[in-house]
């Protein structure tokens, strides 16, 4: 199996792909978190990165964005180097990464999404403020604009982070566990927004932990556990075989049968 995958690795990265990586290896100290990973996400689709805890899903996003150093590998965003495509990427990090007592309101957080447009000197224009409000409205948070972010629930905080990403008007959205610890209404609101992004032709790549919703939400899937286990359309890739290879003994046979689209 492993040999086959090595052969199937792309020789040239697809320049039309919003995010394509080849031979990506990341280590923490001397322990690899990802090993020689290849992936090519399709444009205008919703893609999931799925795998057990510690499989390197978040690491993949961070390494692709250059937030953590990579030992080897090549990353292209719309056929260009990440550093030259940052304006086209909107990143929604894991919620746990900020201080919730920080003096900032929901609207201020969304305005941070305009950082690229504002630069150092320019004042925030009325149109930009209205745009930020519209982004909050799109995630159903318009009434909460003046609220200090610590006074929001986890789900609402996640929506504000999504609104900040929307404000960037990017073409590729990278989300790290957007549904972790959020309520059902928030999950529905977020998925609506992501689907509307896809309808606009934008690409979404999300680290996803809930196997029961994969087929419902996503078009394309990357199954990862240290290395790429499988990648392709959900309809053909999300199978009992690939799941048991990704999760090993962590999922029971019955569970896998219930989740996967087609058995082996």
């Amino acid at each position: 199996m492993a040999d086959l995958k090595l052969i199937s690795a792309p020789t040239v990265l697809d320049p039309a792909s919003p995010l394509a990586v080849r031979g990506l290896t990341v280590t923490y100290g001397e322990k690899p978190a990802l090993f020689s990973l290849d992936a090519t996400f399709p444009a205008g689709a919703m893609s999931a990165i799925v795998g057990p805890n510690g499989a390197g899903k978040s690491t993949f996003l961070k390494a692709a964005l250059g937030l953590i150093p990579r030992v080897s590998g090549e990353v292209l965003v719309f056929g260009r180097d990440v550093d030259r495509a940052r304006d086209r990427i909107a990143y929604v990090p894991q919620r746990a990464s900020v201080d919730w007592d920080f003096p900032t309101t929901a609207l201020d957080v969304v305005l941070m999404g305009l950082y690229g447009q504002l630069g150092l000197w320019r004042r925030i224009s009325a149109a930009q403020r209205a745009h930020a409000h519209a982004c909050l409205d799109r995630v159903g948070m318009a009434d909460f604009a003046p609220r200090q972010i610590g006074q929001l629930s986890g789900g609402q905080q996640q929506r504000v982070f999504l609104a900040r990403a929307l404000a960037q008007q990017a073409d590729l959205f990278l989300l790290d566990e957007p549904f972790a610890g959020v309520d059902a209404a928030t999950e529905a609101a977020i998925i609506d927004v992501l689907k509307s992004l896809k309808a606009e032709g934008r690409s979404v790549v999300a680290v996803h932990h809930d196997l029961s919703t994969v087929t419902q939400y996503f078009d394309h899937i990357l199954l990862v556990n240290l290395r790429r286990i499988a990648e392709g359309p959900v309809a053909t890739t999300f199978t009992a075989d690939t799941l048991s290879e990704t999760y090993g003994g962590r999922l029971g046979a019955l569970q896998i049968e219930g989740l996967a689209l087609s058995g082996s």
């Binding site: 990090p93 900032t104 309101t105 000197w121 309520d183 059902a184 209404a185």
Partner: protein
């Protein structure tokens, strides 16, 4: 008193005016610059930077004397202090990155070693013939006495330059302080922004050395932001109001010090800043002590009001005299205790609120949110409209509506 008022309103002569303005600009730069340290949770690094200036002051003095000067040029002493302060900062960063020491331990180690070296150097300088009149010990606690015209210009100009740099860097520094991961994803060089922030703090420290002294400059960097935080929930407002608080402290402190030249300037400025802090602690709206006492009182009223209205909606009798007083004061019941139309409507709304809450607590797995159920908070304050619609749908399905 007259001398103080003259100094306060800039009537005490050209030099004193410059010193007062310089202190105000320095205070503004310290408050605004310190805000970013505070927001980035690295306030203590400034303590290491400040203490690491002392050996630089001593070395610069010795070099200037060796080159034939009298060693008292403020610019020279500032340059020397900046060099060792930078070394101290680099040493802290290096220890945190290369060893398993935590930042607070590294700060403690660097701070004491550099300060120790500085004190030894000052003692050596005391034995030199030029050293006795140099007055280098005034760099510990600050002083306006014997300040030259060009010194005051240097402090005022330096303060203004730092304020300008803070204004230019406010957006990247806020972005990095709030969410460094996101900032890096946007292509902001987090390490460089952090270095710039530390550079500003270092500049404030070096500029403030003569006036405030190295031991207390830290207070001027930290107290104004902490004070400003009482008054605002927005980073930008915290930064600029901390600047204003620092400026006011510097202005009044320098004026006081000018009218009583024996007193060290640094402690006076810091005491003014601390007084503003104490006032804010007590009287700030919503985050202050008094406000929290008042809001507890208001809370009690809300409890009684809510309990009363719930009783009305269930047609139960109310006995508590405080509850009755509150309800009749708001026109929700008549004097004989019977609900008015508004009272009945309010009771019905609260009963619906309770039903929604009970569904919310069953459905919602976000305990931080459902934990806000206290029998008082209207559900609209906690949940969005679509979430509430979701609860209503469930209520309708359960036949509770």
């Amino acid at each position: 008193m007259q001398a103080f008022l003259d100094a306060l309103f800039l009537q005490a002569g050209y030099n004193a005016v410059l010193v007062t303005l310089g202190a105000a600009l320095l205070g503004f730069a310290a408050g605004a610059g310190g805000s970013f340290l505070f927001l980035r949770k690295r306030a203590l690094v400034s303590d290491a930077v400040a203490h690491a200036t002392l050996p630089g002051v001593g070395i610069a003095f010795i070099i200037m004397v060796a080159l034939g000067g009298d060693g008292r040029s403020l610019l020279g002493l500032m340059a020397g202090s900046a060099v060792t302060a930078w070394l101290g900062l680099v040493a802290v960063e290096w220890m945190v990155r290369r060893t398993r020491l935590s930042e607070d331990a590294a700060i403690g180690a660097i701070l004491s070693v550099f300060f120790g070296v500085g004190v030894v150097l000052l003692t050596v300088i005391q034995t030199m013939s030029q050293g006795r009149q140099a007055g280098l010990e005034s760099f510990l606690l600050g002083s306006t006495a014997g300040m030259l015209y060009q010194d005051a210009v240097l402090i005022a100009g330096g303060g203004a330059a730092v304020v300008l740099a803070i204004w230019l860097l406010r957006r990247p520094m806020t972005l990095v302080a709030f969410d460094p991961g996101y900032a890096a994803a946007r292509g902001v060089n987090v390490r460089r922004v952090d270095l710039a922030m530390m550079g500003l703090v270092l500049a404030v420290t070096v500029i403030g050395l003569k006036l405030v002294g190295l031991i207390l400059i830290v207070a001027l960097l930290i107290i104004p932001p902490v004070t400003a935080r009482f008054w605002s929930e927005r980073a930008e407002a915290v930064v600029w109001s901390a600047g204003v608080l620092g400026a006011v402290s510097g202005w009044i402190g320098a004026a006081l010090s000018a009218s009583a030249p024996d007193m060290p300037t640094g402690p006076i400025i810091v005491l003014i800043a601390a007084a503003l802090f104490a006032l804010s602690l007590l009287f700030a709206p919503s985050r202050g002590v008094l406000a929290s006492i008042l809001s507890r009182r208001a809370f009690q009223t809300r409890v009684h009001r809510r309990q009363g209205l719930l009783a009305l909606s269930r047609s139960e009798p109310i006995h508590d005299p405080l509850t009755l007083r509150i309800l009749s004061r708001e026109g929700l019941i008549r004097l004989d205790g019977v609900a008015t139309d508004t009272g009945r409507a309010a009771g019905a709304k609260i009963a619906r609120d309770e039903r929604r809450w009970s569904v919310a607590r069953r459905l919602h797995h976000d305990t931080a949110l459902t934990g806000r159920y206290d029998g008082l908070t209207p559900i609209e304050e906690v949940f969005t409209q679509d979430e509430i619609a979701h609860f209503d749908a469930r209520i309708a399905r359960m036949g509770m509506g």
